[in-house]
Amino acid sequence: MNLKAKRKKGNVEEGSSLHMVEHKSVGDHVADIVIYVVVALVAFACVIPMWHVLMTSLSDGKMAMAYEGLFWKWVGEFNLGGYRLIFQDASIISGYANTIFYTVSATGLGFVIAALTGYALSRNTKLKSPITLLLMSTMLFSGGMVPTYIVIRYLGWVGTRWALIVPGCTNAMFMIMMMNSFNSVPHEMYEAARIDGAGHFRTMWQVMLPQAMNLGFVIILNSVVMHWNAWLQASIYVPNNKKLWPLQLWIKQIVADNQNFLQNANPDYNRYLIQYAVIVAATLPILALFPFFQDKLEKGVIAGGVKG
């Protein structure tokens, strides 16, 4: 925290001193305005598609279907009919529950493995280098989609929840990041804990891990986003078992079938809104959360880029 405040202060000072020596011409001011406008436009372009979906989901079904172009605002009466429909739909509720279950269990399991490995690799043992090499080589070369599928098939995991939790729960990158994180904890902390008689598990869990949680949180956040948004594993391993489908596969299906309801004699136009409502419902939790963790996630990108 201290360091951050210091850095911020430093930046402001640099900026202001630069300001004092720089004489801006008219052209510079014009350039300034252009830069502000361009950056703002890029930022808006990044947000507008989601805004469009949100506004469509709140529109009147029949009018939304006939409307062409971008939804700056909802069309017709403000309408929550689409949301009412998705929360009555048992399949979407089960998709939600599955996604939460997969995200929590895969992230939890993955973090435990990554933390244990990171701690073990940060200790001075004879097998440290060969094992690190063994882990890192999986980042360079992989067996590929089919051989992995075959192994999971032999394990009997195809068509079960295991295939969506275990294989993707962690990776060499997370382990190496945890190793770096434990390496940066002062060695005195470790020695003090060991001299006080703590075993390795206790030292790791109670003394070292709290100090190493900076990157630990980054790993957890990345893993949550990754699993929340994942669809490929489910489409490979549980394509026919709809009870196990995560939310993303339901979105895929609903978007593909969005015109089917019109075959009814008396169609309920709110059904047109379902695809938009479900996109909002699936995306909003992540989008609402990430600004709070933005600093940590940025740090993760920088740490991953430097060490990766």
Binding site: V42, H200, L232, L287
Partner: protein, 316 residues
């Protein structure tokens, strides 16, 4: 060199027995990761032998008939794989060249904004697409460039292009451009993080001195900022080239359709379709996957070596 040698001699040699006696709990901690890596990464690597077999799940790795290079010959004499290979190369090249620059430009623009609050808000907004699931991003693309989508209407009414569902267009660069633009939309903000961080470490004194000497902002940008962040740019480029052939094609599975296989099919999607499609052929799929893995690894190692030779920076 000499320094390194003396430090290695300082570490007292301990025997394996003492090492295990003292560190066995540490080794126990490694067991889950080793199991994970061996079962889910190393056995599949061994499983690549199925690319050289007429593999059937019932017969297993050792029971299936060995056919040598037959699967590879089938791949390279068939038409589908060669089309997929051409598309993969073209998409990768476009991604590495045209897709590489926007985050850098965006980072430069951000660095020139003095209002910290405005800058932060714009950054947050630009990160947003990175957190949207692929399924949702693709359905957004489908929505926006469908026959009556907002972007299609814009292209038709303002630029006079033919009204059509752009994703169904089979002409050569259309799908590639859509895919490139989708990637840029997803990654422009998130990809700029590294560059913004690198730019913020450039010393303010340099800029001040240059400004006193009368350098304007563009001169400072090209003579100070760009050279200072060049190692980062090189590193990202090496990583981009290294990963270009093997990653980032998953989204195409959601975007393409049989009528656009000619332009949208890639090695990755071909591998997927051969394995899990209607006519599944695990051996052919494994061969295609192995080809992709090998090219990917060669690119990664090669671009890294080149970067180490030409500049001082390398990934590993």
């Amino acid at each position: 060199m000499a320094k390194g040698k003396t430090t290695t001699y300082k570490v007292p040699k301990i025997s394996w027995k003492r090492d295990f006696g003292r560190n066995w709990p540490v080794y126990v901690m490694l067991v889950p990761a080793l199991l994970f890596m061996i079962v889910l990464h190393y056995i599949p690597m061994f499983g690549i032998v199925m690319a050289f077999e007429d593999f059937s799940v019932a017969k297993g790795y050792f029971g299936s008939e060995w056919v040598g290079m037959k699967n590879f010959i089938d791949l390279f004499t068939g038409e589908q794989f060669l089309t997929a290979l051409r598309n993969t190369v073209c998409i990768a090249v476009i991604k590495v060249t045209l897709g590489f620059v926007p985050p850098i430009i965006f980072a430069f623009l951000l660095s020139m904004i003095e209002n910290k609050r405005f800058k932060r808000i714009c950054q947050t907004m630009s990160y947003l697409p990175n957190f949207v699931a692929s399924v949702v991003v693709v359905s957004l693309v489908q929505e926006f460039i469908a026959k009556d989508g907002p972007l299609t209407l814009l292209l038709t009414n303002v630029f006079g292009l033919e009204n059509q569902n752009w994703l169904a267009n089979e002409n050569i660069p259309v799908f590639w451009i859509i895919f490139l633009l989708m990637g840029i939309w997803k990654g422009v903000g998130w990809g700029s993080i590294m560059y913004v961080a690198a730019i913020s470490t450039v010393s303010g004194d340099l800029h001040e001195a240059a400004a006193i000497d009368g350098a304007n902002r563009w001169q400072r940008l090209f003579k100070i900022t760009l050279p200072c962040i060049m190692p980062t740019v090189m590193m990202m480029f090496v990583m981009g080239v290294g990963l270009s052939f093997s990653t980032g094609f998953e989204d195409i599975l959601l975007m393409y359709m049989p009528s656009t296989y000619g332009v949208a099919d890639t090695v990755y999607t071909y591998t997927y379709r051969m394995a899990f499609g209607v006519a599944s052929n695990y051996s052919l799929s494994a061969a295609s996957g192995l080809f992709q893995s090998l090219v990917g690894t060669c690119l990664l190692v090669g671009s890294n070596a080149l970067s180490r030779k030409m500049t001082d920076s390398s990934l590993f």
